[in-house]
Symmetry: C2
Subunit: 601 residues, 2 copies
Amino acid sequence: MINKFCKKPLWEVSQTLSAVAGGAKPAETVIKNAKLINVCTREIQDNIDVAIAEGRIALVGDASHCIGETTNVIDANGSYIAPGFLDGHIHVESSMLTAGEYAKAVVPHGTTGIYMDPHEICNVLGLDGVKCMLEDAGRTPLKAMLTTPSCVPAVPGFEDTGAFIGPEEVAETMTWDECVGLGEMMNFPGILGSTDHAHGITGATLQAGKIVTGHYSLPETGQGLNAYIASGVRCCHESTREEDALAKMRLGMYALLREGSAWHDLKEVSKAITNHEVDSRFACLISDDTHPHTLIENGHLDHIVKRAIEEGIDPVTAIQMVTINCAQCFQMDHDFGSITPGKCADIVFLSDLEKVTVSKVMIDGDVVAENNQMLEEFAPYTYPDWATHSIHLKEEITENSFKIKARDVSAKEALVHAIEVIPARVGSYDRHVKLPVVNGYVESDVTQDVLKTAVFERHHETGNVGYGFVKGFGINKGALASTVAHDAHNLLVLGTNDADMALAANTLVESGGGMVAVADGKVLGHVPLPIAGLMNDLPVQEMSKLVEGLENAWAEIGCNMPSPFMTMALIALACLPELRLTDKGLVDCTTFQFTDLFIKG
Amino acid sequence: MINKFCKKPLWEVSQTLSAVAGGAKPAETVIKNAKLINVCTREIQDNIDVAIAEGRIALVGDASHCIGETTNVIDANGSYIAPGFLDGHIHVESSMLTAGEYAKAVVPHGTTGIYMDPHEICNVLGLDGVKCMLEDAGRTPLKAMLTTPSCVPAVPGFEDTGAFIGPEEVAETMTWDECVGLGEMMNFPGILGSTDHAHGITGATLQAGKIVTGHYSLPETGQGLNAYIASGVRCCHESTREEDALAKMRLGMYALLREGSAWHDLKEVSKAITNHEVDSRFACLISDDTHPHTLIENGHLDHIVKRAIEEGIDPVTAIQMVTINCAQCFQMDHDFGSITPGKCADIVFLSDLEKVTVSKVMIDGDVVAENNQMLEEFAPYTYPDWATHSIHLKEEITENSFKIKARDVSAKEALVHAIEVIPARVGSYDRHVKLPVVNGYVESDVTQDVLKTAVFERHHETGNVGYGFVKGFGINKGALASTVAHDAHNLLVLGTNDADMALAANTLVESGGGMVAVADGKVLGHVPLPIAGLMNDLPVQEMSKLVEGLENAWAEIGCNMPSPFMTMALIALACLPELRLTDKGLVDCTTFQFTDLFIKG
């Protein structure tokens, strides 16, 4: 596979590299006296120099003869050097940061390449939105490699999204330079059911000679997993148990072991390595979803490698899992993943191996970050108007928009379905609750912890609104709204009263999207996300503060869940059990059928 | 990388595979109750079934539900199954067999794929000859993947070959379906010297996204090796010492550990694995050159794996070296190299693991060999007339063709350079010897073990003849001739007298090439090689007998060297030290200059 993620392709500079290695030309940069984390042989080599020219490595060993008058010599002073860290599966949008700000947040932690699946923006803005993110990322030193979103919409027929991706769209993106594969194929039912649509999407990727990445979240590791892998899916980040990850590796699937902000899988899944004497070449470490707070407090892949070491994985083996293993998974090991001649000079300096303390980061031969700070400046990127004005409602939202007419308007109570959320879990329960009917309308009931909920279609002005009830947040006043509402990212509102719900919704309409908490006619916390209703171009520190403010606001109105807005954002995701609400209505996710809000009494 | 080495590409059959794995369609074939050599995790798994459809693996595990009325069930009875063996570097012509007969000889030994560098036929017949070999191989189940010959001629300017390969020719072959990379880049001086020609050839390969295979035979593992690898060369089979192989793996180069008929490197180079606690993923086992006798007596990769085990490498690790490691080297691990869902059903059954006893071989889901016999029939291939009539001399060869006029025709002796060969070594010495002058012509002198030698250009009727002397074979009568004379494969003749030399030469002219030993006007041993003067379409057993006859003939006239025709075949190879003879004359291979036969007295 050929890619654009280098200063120059090897065939344009190989003559220079050979000349530098042989001493016929001085190197541009020489790193002296390092301890090399050799991910090829799983060794640590002392007293190693690296000679660099044209953004690539010319020589590894003794580079004394490569130093000329013009050579920039970096004395590593015996510190460790490792290949640049690669994240095999990441959604930048989860950080709420733009690609540019995301790069500033993660590169100082040693991340030099990410395989990003921008399926959030794609649900809102389609491939044009994806192109914006690629342009944004393209200005930065971070190598942001596209895996084309495969499941847009996530649950076809049950929700309105801003875009549709089918085999033809996938095939088109496979011609893009930035595209190295297909994003997580969440439609495993389609693969297992041998549908033309699902296999058309994976097939278009395979036919282009690119990599299909997976998402197989069933606990079953027999027929289903085999059927899934047989379609050509090469990796999967959805293992949550030791046996999941082990089964995948045994079946030749790269097990991408996840440690994200919300999903802490490593404790369990690392046992696939530590409890078994296995070749670990099919294991990688990835983040999937990372929030601003996590990036600031813990870091990125440096933190995940450290966590793997804490779980008992040998440090060099753990580093293989974010370097050579990941590069081999994507068949890009000829350009990345090791500190060896010919490869891009993507190098992480570590002052402490066990703690994975990153002191300096080099990409394509340039030092781009040092002491946790990005050094390299790059031009700001302005998202176009259509990307920052992505809320397209048919009608203005008012208090009346939230009225749910009872089936029997003369009754005092109505028996309805309510979605009960579960703290820090992705599932939900389908509960039957009796709610008060006032003037013919069904109302929220904080005594039962049940809130009125609405999902407004916001992409194509269809006017679709889905109504339902949610239980379990502990909210006792006010309302909440979010345009981060997986995966269609329609406008989701829930609350105790119609006035606050309208205020919450309209606050987001004004800010072009985001997440908000209001009470008693006042905005308590607000994270504006004007870019596609998903991202903001503020730096990570400021975003982290805004999110903290929002969490405090949630607490103020009664919710003590960790990151409750994450749990809220899944209310509309109709591929998760048991009951969900989309702009098209209430979905029974066990039978995959729409269901009436009212239960016959 | 996409390739044609499968029944059908995965994207055409993935729906069927998923259906079979899920039990919705019956498998075509199910292997039951095997011990799986899992090369992904380096484990042995008991009681494993494999379900197969469309030539690919649908499921690995319990396949009971995949068996229908039409399913062919193969009971493995607890024997081992391993992925089909892959030879990462092989010259089919060394076996003197056609590609078809070669396939019959190696497939029963578990070899399902070879990365072949047909640089012998290419020197004689150019890319048209290569195409013939591909067509021949293409009829067989053996997956014969082309690495385009990179160095034709081997030593430009010093010899006449039948063809020339430059960057443009390489680029053309990179568009061929059968081509997966570049053959051994022997021109390491060109790479180290950063020449346009050498880097143009490697660059054309890299630009096509294909693999550059190497040949770095220097004992130096510092600047030179780095300069070589920096050009993008991905593997090398020329390690002869522990430290060579280790240095290559550390620099991210696949070390192809060789055990050929003539080169027994494993004893030494396997120490790179056994003496160091290294990740062995960058090590492969390969054969390079294998003679008919070796194929019959020892086998092919089965023998080499056994040898690796004898040298102390763990059996499963050794099998990784002919399966997943090789497939990853060529970035073809999505199709080959493991028994996992989606991959081609290339499977070797082993009745004994330590002895690597192959009992059955499956390729693309079909059992093609059993009990050391090829089962599958395939159509015979007839090489075209121009391929079987490749000897094009300007003039008929007679006794007079061998007369070497003395510089001083009146002298009784002449001081000349002689090439001294070294048994079972590729090098030679430049010796100064005094030879008798009779009637003004310099003659052979068996008392000094010095034979007159001539190389006739045989490709383009140029009439070029190079004359010299060779020392060291121990021949006391008769003459020898060969059209296997690396790498230009001109007609090489040496002998004690002109009459026998003419007989030897003309015997080969008549048979369209080959190797012959004559004495006293009689042919003692003759291996006709009518295809390009290099190969014969006889089966391996018959070829082995002919070669044995030739070896006996050599012994009869005084030479007790092992495989002396091999040593003879290197006399014309002007890239080896110290002195060589081509059709253009005597070459000093230390200065790379032509040198006069006569030494000023």
